[in-house]
Symmetry: C2
């Protein structure tokens, strides 16, 4: 089967590029002396998880318990659910631990939540490992690294009969908003210092802190030091995307994920080609826009080899994408893209785009569909 | 089972409000003397399709062929696929017609595409009804109503052995961008005149034009005249959303769709509560922002009865929503919303939010889950 045989819109992944990206990050972690716990929030696919954990413990990070349950069915046994847990989520994690023998580490950022988790773990009769989340500057979840609550929360976990204090974790999500590699390097160093400093406070208080976990793709790629960290948790690097390209976390030949779409209408009077990939097929994420004129994605030839001029999806209605030139309506090559022809859209933000699909059509540096990888969605 | 028993994030629909909304639109169409062909792009659910077509022919509009196939399995037999068709889509529509006995009307906006469809319908040995799409001002797909291509395209359809010229269709999608009811009324009148005018050209050329179809939710709600139209195709009115509220297409008590979410972290120093509904659970659509400070949705109490102050989801990361006050960090009621408590987020744009879920938890003006409605996603 060839790409041309797919119905559109279709989610296409290039296995050769995923292998390149996952091998490079594994090498980067090994060189830096840290474990890699790849974040499955992007791919949500057992096949990608296997590539990302080749020659590796198999430990992964997840953004939903559905990801953990799905990956447990595919043989994975070591998860960090990197979203602050509430008691209901602990119940479900405890069930998965009991039923699969897997381990699901949870995270928390307050004494109250830690105590609530403690009560629920005791009721479930299951011991759960917990990490204290540290805010390294994103100001989403996590405790300030110098807050007295860090040690108090660690102690509440340590003292609970059915919680096991595993360590500290942070995510410098604000690295996605950096406008230069220098900015990313600075955020990476803040991230490292925040979590290493919090671990020091915990250890100084006499408690153990085995895991010191940090990482986003930009900081994992650009950090000058991983000193003191025990693991990193990048995610989007398995595919990369235009947002990461804008941040220089990757080169164009690393982009592994794209949406195959069909030209359905020509509007020459408006300098516009309409494709059948819109806001659901591409997502409405525009996070790359701070750095590049990315719209909802860059438009390449159907083979995914070359961008067509400076075309991008400028507008995304539910099922319609408006392909326009960044510079001039005269640069839209209507002759090259007749109605019924195909293009590949490399998305703005891979995690969001992939979330609309149940599977990947897999190519390997070519047009032949060599595999079909499933993925999980929902919660 | 009660709302409180659901795991979060969960998609909640209030059946009483859907019934109210669908009955009101049916009444509006009847009063206006037009058929209602409700657009299933929003709900993608057989249960909602049944409410929207109560005492009705059962004719519906779809945005994907997957919707048509799913609804055909649930007994629906009359579809308009309201996205310009290419030959591959015709093949699939023809298969569905053959296998289910349903009728799938397609649309096109060029002579070339009409000819390509004609060839493919002949090859498939299946007669397909086709409408000419007219651009009434959105400039997405469609022919300008006064273009000579309108009649040429109609003729190409009429002359094809296996295509049947059904009529003309338009969608004034730019009504979503209107800032006042007066603006919407003007767009509704443009929409009506465009498609009625195109139908006249076709009839004047000696061809038949049975169906004259228009409609978006704002124009269906606010149009002063449906004269000359045979049907309207609103969609989001089944649920409404904050974008439609901003446009005054509905009142707050019409909002039928919301996401139940759990508070997972407090950041009082940043005037911020974090919930477990982020960019996937809510979508990254911000189309309401032109009229209201809607963020990714307004935050209500868990019962969905009352908005909490002026809280909205200001930032949506993949699995985290940042709940903040529109006016002041001091107006975030941390005491009222402890970690583990629940809120209901009424989304910015219902079509995009619902697309992340496989089913609806159904309430009926209360907290009890009275039903579970499935929905279709993908293409």
């Amino acid at each position: 089967m060839l790409l041309g045989d797919l119905e559109t819109p279709a989610l296409v992944v290039d296995r050769a590029r995923v292998q390149q990206n996952t091998a490079a990050m594994a090498e980067r972690a090994a060189t830096g002396g840290v474990a890699l716990r790849p974040h499955m929030k992007t791919a949500k696919s057992a096949a990608v998880a296997k590539l990302a954990t080749a020659n590796h413990s198999g430990a992964v990070t997840v953004s939903t318990l559905a990801e953990a349950e799905y990956l447990a069915e595919h043989g994975f046994r070591d998860f960090t659910y990197a979203v602050c847990a509430v008691p209901e989520k602990l119940d479900r994690a405890a069930r998965l631990q009991k039923e699969s023998g897997a381990q699901i580490q949870l995270i928390t950022d307050s004494v109250e939540a830690a105590r609530a988790l403690a009560g629920r773990a005791r009721d479930a009769g299951e011991t759960i490992k917990v990490l204290v989340e540290i805010d390294s500057g994103e100001h989403r979840t996590g405790l300030s690294p110098d807050s007295p609550s860090v040690v108090e929360t660690a102690r509440a976990i340590h003292e609970a009969s059915h919680l096991d204090l595993e360590g500290v974790l942070t995510h410098a999500g604000h690295s996605y908003e950096c406008h230069s590699i220098e900015d990313v390097k600075r955020v990476a160093e803040d991230e490292r210092q925040a979590v290493v400093g919090a671990a020091r406070l915990i250890r100084d208080s006499g408690l153990e802190c085995r895991t010191i976990s940090a990482g986003s793709t930009p900081t994992a790629v650009h950090a000058e030091s991983f000193e003191g960290l025990t693991e990193i948790r990048p995610g989007v690097y398995v595919f990369f995307d235009i947002a990461q390209l804008g941040q220089k976390s990757c080169r164009i030949e690393n982009l592994a994920l794209s949406v195959l779409a069909t030209v359905i209408s020509h509007r020459p009077e408006h300098g516009r080609i309409i494709i059948d990939a819109g806001g659901i097929a591409l997502s409405k994420d525009t996070s790359a826009s701070a750095l590049l004129d990315a719209g909802y994605g860059w438009v390449f030839d159907a083979g995914g080899r070359e961008r067509i001029g400076d075309l991008r999806v400028a507008v995304a209605d539910q099922e319609h994408g408006y392909v326009e030139s960044s510079s001039s309506p005269d640069r839209v090559p209507f002759d090259r893209l007749p109605i019924g022809s195909r293009v590949r859209v490399f998305p703005n933000h891979a995690c969001m785009t992939a979330s609309a699909y149940d599977s990947y059509a897999v190519v390997h540096d070519g047009d032949e569909i060599v595999d079909r990888w499933d993925r999980i969605h929902g919660w």
